[in-house]
Amino acid sequence: MNQAPKTREPLFHLVKRDVTKKWIPWAIRAGAVVAAFILLGLMSLISLGVNPFKVYKYMFEGAFGDSFRVMRLLRDLAILLLFALAVTPAFKMKFWNIGAEGQVLMGGFACMICMFYLGGKVNDVLLIFISLAASVLMGAIWAGIPALFKAKWNTNETLFTLMMNYVAIQIILYTIKIWAPGGTGTLTPSAYGNLPAIGGEHFWFSIIVALVMTAVMFVYLRYTKHGYEINVVGESENTARYIGINVRKVVIRTLLLSGLICGLTGFLLVAGIDHTVSSTTAGGRGFTAILVSWLAKFNPIAMIFTSLLVVFLSKGMDEVMTQVGVTNSFFSQVVTGITFLMIIGCEFFINYRVVFRHRKNDEAAPAAPIPEAAADTAAPAPTTEEVPIPSETTQANAAEEE
């Protein structure tokens, strides 16, 4: 006992939270979003000299300013949501598919091949269905290859899917060179095989598809046998094997599903929006989708809101930059990055709480052991444990809670 006063208690230490009240995590997340926006306003004030309230006003206008902007926001939200839905089943299974970018690109590429070679030669409606089938198939193949390697030879899926992105980009760049010689790496949009505009708007198709897919994915993950199997494989492969789940089969099947949704997304991007393909068709959303999916704790319904947050920030900051007349993207990139960092960082405080050293006690009676700390060291309660600043463990814990 004599030793106890000698060890200096750190200024603060971290204690694992008891997961009792359901509202606490959501309150912390909401607090983080609010804090992020306050910080965003302060940064604008300091570096651009713009009134923060004006910044919020511009952001809101940029996202929801008029009906056209609302539709554009919803469409971009829908596309990002589809990317996120595509990576989610694999992530739930702890298969780190970071190849959505490439899978979408290949889906869109397959669609463009159909439009390029069959455009004007077959009926346009038929062409759309052929393109759709080709896109979905190609997306599934692009995701299936790393899945097969993982299942057969246990290759590293993170590296494999990442590399497949670059292969996809190069295939597209190479093909554009063949299709458009003497050009500048851009391909003229195809006049054939374009998705029809529903009710005079080119936006609705993606929005409807995204809504349907969200509902389907929600049901699939939560209420079907497949969804259950994905969960079990994600939690423990050994358990899965023990209860007779064919892990290889589940891995390949789930990745094919991922690729299929990616292919569909690529189809929507090419046939519905861009009518052409380029190496930037996916535009980095394959990676942003990982963030969207994680933040939503792999819950498809929650992903609607996390996608909204991402798209709102992007559209909002674009408008701020336009209004303020800043013609570079440094500031908006930094601000967006910091905002996400705060929102992701708050997950840490959902799992752990900070306990500060009781300074007064310390000074008043340095010899006497502090009751709380003593209790902790002597007999740790089953629900709390002290942690030496975890880094990667945070995310893993977050996933386990689900």
Partner: protein, 425 residues
């Protein structure tokens, strides 16, 4: 012994530097900008008595942001034009970082919704989306720089623009040729090196026309000159442009470098290697004080002023507008006094007067050969319908008539003396 050698070497070095400075023969220092006397500019129309209404707006769509020299050149021009016509800052809406895909269309619509009367886009790949927007919003004017399709779409509110920048390139080439002459003046025959290097973005008519006119300018004062071209396959790729310039300097042994790509990759590689550089889009004298010679650039200010004024007055904008030396669209930056060869400014001024008067033609068919033979006929793909088949005879009166049948360049021949190290579409 070692010490003595060191001292001798040091003295020799000092002497060499001193001789080098004397040899320069001019009193300017490195990095000191020297203006070329201005040409008497006649703008395409008068702006006297023009008042732009307070609710008039111009929208601008840029591929990258101001960190790209190409886009910065447009941004500066549109700001200068807005200022020159006495418009307020909020009468200009600038959208940067707009990709060459459907987002260009949605951005154009956004600008229409914000009340823009005329919308200007700066990148080649924006064209199809600008046409789509022009179809949907007939009462708004859409102007597109570097595009090729205005003369075939038949839309009254869609317009293309470019400038006879090949004339600017030719003049910059003269500065390069004279620098080569100066560098080789005191060298023994076996050590003379008249090879230039060129970093190009794409194997595309605009780039080919640019480097060919640059080469012909150099050749007009330095007949022995040859040139190697390396393409990067991107308009903006710092690493690839730097690598290409380094390859041209180290492996191809080029004595001077120029480029048509938008990053600082090539100029900074030249500065690091101490190789003279002729730039594009704007001066790089501050970053490269000891190697920058001169830069040709398109000054878009006259065109932007023109489209604003025409729109305000309800007059038609030309379907294809080709800016020239005479209207101030084709410009040269100040020359780097410490790096340029003696007499450079006089030579440029003389050639410029001839070009402006039409007595000198850049693509004079008596001044170059293709596969060893003079060019007498050539069908260029002017209509750009996607067939990549030439249909318009562009050689007449002893010259290749660049930018006559449409504003965007269509010179895409491989002339003798220039070697393409690769191709990139």
């Amino acid at each position: 012994m070692k010490k003595i050698i060191t001292i001798i070497m040091a003295l020799a070095l000092v002497a060499a530097v001193a001789i080098g400075l004397v040899a320069c023969g001019n009193s300017f220092e490195d990095g000191e900008p020297v203006d070329i006397p201005a040409l008497d500019v006649q703008e395409v129309r008068s702006y006297e008595g023009l008042t732009v209404p307070a609710d008039f707006k111009i929208g601008m769509i840029c591929l990258h942001d101001e960190t790209s020299t190409y886009d910065a050149n447009f941004i500066n021009a549109v700001k200068a034009a807005v200022k020159a016509l006495g418009m307020a800052d909020n009468q200009l809406i600038l959208k940067t970082g707009i990709d060459e895909k459907a987002v260009c269309y949605t951005t154009a619509v956004e600008l229409v919704n914000q009340g823009c009367d005329v919308i200007f886009a700066d990148s080649f790949g924006h064209e199809d989306y600008m046409i789509q927007a022009a179809r949907d919003y007939r009462n708004v004017q859409f102007c597109h720089a570097t595009g090729t399709k205005a003369h075939t779409t038949g839309l009254a509110n869609y317009h293309n623009a470019f400038a006879s920048i090949y004339e600017g390139r030719y003049l910059a080439g003269i500065a390069a040729g004279m620098k080569l002459n100066e560098m080789n003046k005191d060298k023994a025959d076996g050590e003379k090196n008249y090879k230039m290097g060129y970093v190009g973005a794409y194997t595309y008519a605009e780039v080919i026309s640019g480097y060919t006119s640059f080469y012909l300018g150099a050749k007009s004062v330095c007949p022995q000159v040859t040139m190697a071209v390396q393409f990067t396959g991107s308009w903006y790729d710092v690493a690839a442009e730097k690598e290409a310039a380094e390859n041209l300097i180290k492996n191809e042994k080029c004595a001077l470098i120029s480029q048509h790509a938008d990053s600082m990759g090539s100029p900074s590689a030249c500065e690091a290697a101490g190789v003279p550089n002729v730039s594009y889009n704007g001066s790089t004298i501050e970053a490269c004080p000891s190697t920058f010679i001169v830069s040709s650039r398109i000054d878009w200010t006259p065109y932007v002023k023109y489209i604003i004024a025409q729109t305000v007055e309800g007059k038609a904008i030309a379907t294809d507008y080709t800016g020239s030396l005479k209207d101030g669209s084709v410009a040269l930056t100040a020359v780097n006094g410490g790096v340029m060869a003696e007499g450079t400014i006089d030579a440029i001024v003389e050639a410029r007067a001839k070009l402006a008067a039409g007595t000198l033609k850049v693509f004079d068919t008596s001044k170059f050969t293709v596969n060893g033979a003079a060019l007498t006929t050539y069908l260029a793909d002017v209509d750009d319908l996607g067939d990549y088949v030439g249909e318009t005879e562009v050689v007449s009166g002893g010259a290749f008539e660049e930018s006559k049948f449409r504003s965007a360049p269509y010179f895409d021949l491989a002339i003798d003396g220039i070697t393409r190290l690769n191709a990139a579409y």
